[in-house]
């Protein structure tokens, strides 16, 4: 009896230590605030809850940055971290946010769209909690997030997610996936309120172009591409051809399937006047047959198993010993985003959106992503936003 309770006591103490250590790590991750330095183009910052009041006071509420040009023109919306485990999106949005100057029109940027998703991770898959990007002044620390919102913020999940308003049956997990809950509703589950907020921005601010930035597995056919519905197809095709000819990288066009509901490139096009584009860059970290999910794999995309599969032609993107470094992915997103805006401005000159001071592919690859981030310690505190 005494031996039994001695063993049990040791086990209880060991599990309590484990509980405390892991709780502290998860708590620090969930509550870490990443500084964003508002660049010269940022004119005002709002909260998504101002467009979707059901988000007020929740972990899903997030900052919305406005960059307004002096000359009137069209309006573009950039949405990043729809899936917070695809961090090239956030890094690209920050390159725009911290550097862009708008000469004509308006740019709206939501850098952490699924704010709740950025505050949980996948410990079961061995995901890192944080990653750091080297900059000219040190390193910038980011939270590594998850594809779906945290169950701490939206729970319980249904057995099956019934999409609103089409009533298509989707996976239960998709109720927390902000790329399945479009167009959303003001009083639905939390993630539907997030997408509803973005739809309201598009309607109230008369957004012409919406870019939803993602990353996808190299073994998934919808990668390294622009996904576009019918009404965005011409501009997407012109963009794809132009970046290939001028900048030398592939970024093919995929049609948005009309029968698959809840996706941004489908619902934004169907439920608003905005032209949506979903940008995908390869993300080897998400592939299943890789080595450990380390920060190195996340940032440089080098993996021996993917290299072996590439030699057997099992990947949908070119892949060699150089992997798919973050600078390449962010550079592609920057160039494709800028080219979409340029093509749109050429087609609709009265609604032109003219952006400068944002690097293109070759510059980001040469200088690295961190070169374009500013030191929050040296910035005017009123221009630093903790997110």
């Amino acid at each position: 009896m005494a031996q039994e309770w001695k063993t049990k006591s040791i086990l209880i103490v060991a599990v309590i230590i484990l509980l405390i250590v892991s709780s502290i790590q998860f708590y620090e991750h969930r509550h870490y605030k990443m500084p964003i330095v508002a660049g010269p183009g940022v004119t005002k910052v709002m909260r998504l809850s101002e467009y979707s009041p059901g988000l007020k006071g929740t972990m899903a509420d997030t900052d919305v940055f406005f960059l307004e040009g002096k000359e009137k023109g069209g309006t573009a919306l950039i949405i990043a971290n729809t899936h917070s485990n695809e961090p090239a999106a956030l890094l690209t949005a920050l390159v725009f946010l911290e550097n862009a100057v708008i000469d004509q029109g308006t740019m709206i940027i939501i850098p952490q769209f699924n704010h709740s998703g950025s505050r949980n991770t996948k410990p079961g898959d061995g995901y890192p909690l944080f990653f750091e990007i080297p900059t000219d002044w040190g390193s910038k620390k980011f939270r590594m997030g998850n594809r779906n919102a945290a169950p701490l913020d939206q729970w319980p999940d249904p057995d099956v997610y019934i999409h609103y308003p089409d009533r298509q049956l989707l996976s239960y997990l998709d109720v927390r996936n902000t790329n399945r809950t479009w167009p959303g509703r003001p009083d639905g589950p939390l993630m539907e309120r997030v997408t509803y907020g973005a739809m309201q921005i598009m309607k109230e601010e008369k957004v012409d172009v919406a870019l939803d930035i993602h990353g996808a597995e190299t073994m998934f056919p919808v990668t390294n591409c622009i996904v576009a519905p019918e009404k965005s197809m011409r501009i997407a095709t012109m963009t794809s051809l132009t970046v290939k000819a001028r900048e030398g990288f592939d970024n093919h066009v995929e049609p948005s399937p009309s029968g698959f509901r809840g996706l941004s490139h489908r619902e934004i096009g169907d439920y608003s006047d905005t032209m949506p584009f979903l940008l995908e860059a390869p993300l080897p970290f998400l592939d299943q047959p890789t080595g450990p999910k380390t920060v190195d794999l996340l940032l440089d995309g080098k993996d021996p198993f993917l290299l072996s599969l590439s030699k057997k032609r099992k990947l949908f993107v070119p892949y060699d010993e150089t992997g798919w470094p973050m600078s390449k992915r962010v550079g592609q997103h920057c160039s494709v985003g800028l080219e979409i805006l340029r093509q749109f401005s050429q087609k609709f000159p009265e609604k032109a959106i003219k952006v400068r001071n944002v690097p293109r592919y070759a510059e980001v690859v040469k200088n690295g992503v961190g070169h374009y981030y500013h030191n929050p310690k040296e910035a005017d505190p009123s221009r630093v936003f903790l997110n």
Binding site: T7, L11, P156
Partner: protein, 51 residues
């Protein structure tokens, strides 16, 4: 708090009580004792509402 959440907390507390009871009743297997405690962790965190 919606009724469904209250139900989930009650279910969570019930499962936690079952695990504790089984942990107390287990006499020999250290592996089984450890498993009860490990499974208990997320339930405890949920009941304590640690976020």
């Amino acid at each position: 708090m919606p009724i469904i959440m209250i139900c989930y907390y009650i279910i969570g507390a019930y499962l936690a009580a079952l695990l504790i009871w089984n942990f107390i009743r287990e006499k020999k297997s250290v592996d089984t004792m450890l498993q009860y405690l490990m499974v208990l962790i997320p339930l405890i965190l949920r009941l304590l509402r640690i976020r």
